[in-house]
């Protein structure tokens, strides 16, 4: 990151390659559209390049990066809500992209169509349940469950206290337990 601060494009490319998976998947879990997730992820990395001079080496880079990711997701969801491009109900429903992606995954895992359909259905339910969570709860869940962040790191990303993170995670888990009842 220090090389990126000096305007080193090769270092920036390395940085993108190292963190692209986490950034794209985190956005995908919030938005539910893989193309949109890549578009927003590019916006995140452009923002990283532009803000590189403001990066303090004392802060852990991934914490700083996912703060930007969280803000980009928040702005995108707010923009969508404002434009009414997608109603909250539509956002909660499994979209075409999720289904397509689920099909690809299931087909790769199993050639059995019935099993593939069941897998697709489960993936859609998990995605919908995660997307229905409030922004902060969803970010806390994704960072904790999929990115392996500690409570302290999540607290820095969300700019809140560690007890607040614990509370967010607890409420999110209770909600997920209710919404996914009977799936597992």
């Amino acid at each position: 990151m220090l090389r990126v601060r000096r305007g080193d494009r090769a270092a920036f490319r390395d940085l993108v390659e190292r963190h692209q998976r986490g950034v794209i998947q985190t956005i995908y879990r919030a938005i539910g559209d893989s193309w949109e997730a890549e578009d927003l992820a590019q916006r995140v990395f452009v923002q990283v390049w532009r803000s590189a001079s403001r990066y303090e080496p004392t802060a852990k880079f991934t914490t700083w990066l996912f703060t930007i990711v969280h803000n980009v997701i928040f702005n995108e969801r707010r923009r969508r809500a404002r434009r009414n491009a997608e109603s909250l109900d539509a956002l909660a429903q499994p979209d075409e992209d999720t289904e397509t992606f689920g099909t690809q995954f299931a087909d790769a895992a199993s050639p059995d169509p019935a099993r593939a359909a069941a897998e697709r259905e489960l993936q859609a339910r998990i995605s919908a349940a995660i997307r229905r969570l409030p922004d902060n709860q969803r970010t806390a869940v994704v960072l904790c469950r999929f990115e392996g962040f500690s409570y302290e790191e999540i607290a820095k990303v969300l700019r809140c206290s560690v007890p607040a993170v614990k509370s967010l995670l607890h409420r999110a888990r209770e909600t997920l337990k209710e919404q996914l009842k009977g799936c597992y």
Partner: protein, 146 residues
């Protein structure tokens, strides 16, 4: 550990935040209490299930496309003459040019000032001579010697 304490520790147990002795106490209680065991299965099962969500991997060429987008959104950044080394060189040249210009301007001004001073002095001398001539003429007219 009682039921209430066990339920309060569900999150810490899931996130591996319990110290070894508390973890043993937690597991011992859950294994011996059907109510807590059922709740724990539901709570941890949902969390495990959520972890099975699959998300897409980055598509091929994502990094290249990101760099291209960087150029599109910040076109000036790609111009070689705005690379850091060139920016420093240009800033240095500009500083030298401004210093030289200032020094030259100061010299010109100094020379011009000296010329004006010399001219003024010459004019004053001339005035004095003219004054002297008038005085001498008056003395001549009055018949006195100066």
């Amino acid at each position: 550990m009682n039921c209430q304490q066990t339920k309060a520790n569900f999150d810490e147990r899931l996130d591996n935040q319990l110290d070894p002795s508390s973890r043993v106490a937690f597991d011992t209680h859950v294994n011996g209490c059907p109510g807590c065991a059922a709740e724990w299965r539901a709570y941890s099962g949902a969390w495990t299930f959520v972890g099975q969500q699959v998300a897409p991997k980055p598509s091929v060429g994502f990094a290249e496309r990101t760099l291209r987008r960087l150029d599109e959104t910040m076109p000036t950044q790609s111009r070689f003459w705005l690379a850091p080394v060139w920016r420093w060189a240009m800033a240095g040249t500009l500083a030298i040019a401004m210093t030289a210009g200032g020094w030259f301007g100061w010299r010109v001004q100094d020379t011009r000032q000296a010329e004006v001073q010399a001219e003024t002095y010459a004019m004053a001398q001339q005035d004095r001579l003219e004054d002297f001539d008038v005085v001498a003429a008056l003395h001549l007219l009055s018949g006195d010697s100066p």
